[in-house]
Amino acid sequence: MGIENLLLGFHVAITPYNLFVAVVGITLGTVIGVLPGLGGANGVAILLPLTFTMPPTSAIILLTSLYWGALFGGAITSVLFNIPGEPWSVATTFDGYPLARQGQGGQALTAAFTSSFVGALFSIVLITFFAPLLAEVALKFGPPEFFAIQLLTFSSFVGLGGGNPLKSLVTILLGFILAAVGLDIVTGQLRMTFGFVDLMKGFDFIIAVIGLFGIGEILLSVEEGLSFRSIPTGMNLRVVLDTWKVLPRYLRTFVRGAFIGFWMGFKPGGATPASFMSYAFAKRFSKNPERFGKGELEGVVAPETAAHAAGVAAILPMITLGIPGSPTAAVMLGGLIIWGLQPGPLLFQEKPEFVWGLIASMYTGNIIGVLMVLAFVPLFAAILRIPFAILTPVIVVICAVGSYAVHSSMIDVWYMLIFGVVGYVFKKLDYPLAPLVLALVLGDLAENALRQSLIMSQGSLAIFVTRPIAGVITAVAIFFFALPVLTPWWRRIQGTAAPSGSPRAT
């Protein structure tokens, strides 16, 4: 274990071709992160068909690099344009945009990129050590344990997701239902097709991702009457070096943010709450909390560190358990299956060069990434000066191309449009989209795990509680599911009664 594996990984990651792939991925990813309507998840989804002919390791390096780029790109729009490219960049706008308005955009961007890098590095180091251990443990898992982990995955959306827990539950169920449409491979029966031939092959989650996050996001952003008031980046080597001199002051914030990010991030939906939590902690422990929200550098450091740490941590359950921690990781998981790899703990034994190549590329990708964005911020920011009437059709066409490329089928492009409208409506009504995508990806796996477990137990659900590991995980899952109900009770017992008459506290 350990060092020699990582060296093997670097051997794979530092070939000229794979480094080139990483640079391309980061460039495209940053562009995608800057563009409205395109983010990590659908950027990866659109590029997925292009990787079908690549070697799997290069393909995953391309997609992960794209992901790092998108994470960096989100920070650019948050700071310079007050537009969070991704939900976890929202907290970055609180202090990033005021700083940019005060002519300190360069400092804010340097702080954001550096914190992102530190957060990511922290998570990568932890992944390097924990991934093999977790995979080792996971090898002993049977279907009941995997189903219990799935329960845990979705319970954390309901219990910790933040939004309306009932609506989270509804989108999870909708995702599973859409996943079940089509041929049931176990019994060979057609499910929920109601005689329509087009429904036989079911719904592909890649199409759902492109529609929900791509088209839906564009519809939302035109509704808000998008206008980009660009602020000069004010970025040069001097600013970068000066900011780096100041940053060590925030060591505690870095460490806190990285821990929060990693801890929240390997559970699904963690990046957004992690960034807010880190921001809140930084404000609380700061000597001058009143400056937060008006342009405090620490207010940029805290959420960015946590968000990136969480974004990287989402890869951990994907490669060890085959269960993605975020929609983007879910799309990558779909990629693994398409490239002919079986995601899960066996990957560490059967394809060490793939797994360790991926882990090593996370180091190289983030190093290349931070240097590239620091050097080329003005170029990336210039993308948003392209008029909206050009950007919109270009993005829509790219989404259509990406959707068609998955199965070479026009019906998928129509589905993409429908998913786009659904995404728009759901977003406005506070139905979270990430659980839907994850449920759509994991639907078949979850159902198979459930079926096999029930066959093992002759139909008794007790199998999820009586096996020790599955029992513990199921108990935690049930606790998370119950959390939205328990919290108001707990508050009442504590005497700090929740604000009464709020119908959302369910």
Partner: protein, 153 residues
């Protein structure tokens, strides 16, 4: 907002009902060698109905005057949506590249009021680059129409 909430939850509950209906047809119990095809969907659908009922109850109790979408908001949204629908419909007849050129050009001229030269430049170059990247470089075929056939692709 309340009406939209009620409608969406009702629609999703109906969908749940449809799922349950189909699941019952497939069998929701124990087959010869494990759960039947309808077992998992049945519980998904049933839970969906329960969850939607709770959302309906929540939404019905809440009274807020905000509207789901105002007239000023709906306009721009539709202006993006219907050309996008036209793009997909045109792709069936003309192939993706020609449809993309027409769509991009139309949108730039109609919404952006760009100069004809810019419109033509972007509307021709962008599909051309897409063609080179997908068709030539990565060998991912897109739907093609009469123009491509005439050019021999």
């Amino acid at each position: 907002m309340r009406l939209a909430d009620l409608l969406t939850a009702s629609f999703l509950a109906l969908l749940g009902g449809l799922v349950v209906f189909d699941a019952v047809r497939l069998g929701i119990g124990w087959g010869t060698d494990g759960p039947q095809s309808g077992f998992f969907p049945f519980w998904l659908g049933a839970l969906m109905i329960v969850a939607c009922a709770a959302v309906l109850f929540q939404a019905a109790r809440r009274s807020d005057g905000t509207s789901f979408v105002t007239r000023q908001q709906l306009g721009p949204v539709l202006k993006v949506l219907w050309p996008a629908i036209a793009l997909v419909a045109l792709t069936h007849w003309l192939g993706l590249y020609v449809a993309a050129a027409l769509y991009t050009g139309f949108y730039m001229r109609w919404i952006g009021r760009h100069a004809w030269l810019t419109v033509l430049g972007v509307a021709i170059l962008f599909p051309l680059v897409t063609f080179l990247v997908f068709e030539k470089w990565f060998l991912v075929p897109m739907p093609k129409g009469p123009l491509e056939a005439w050019l021999g692709y």
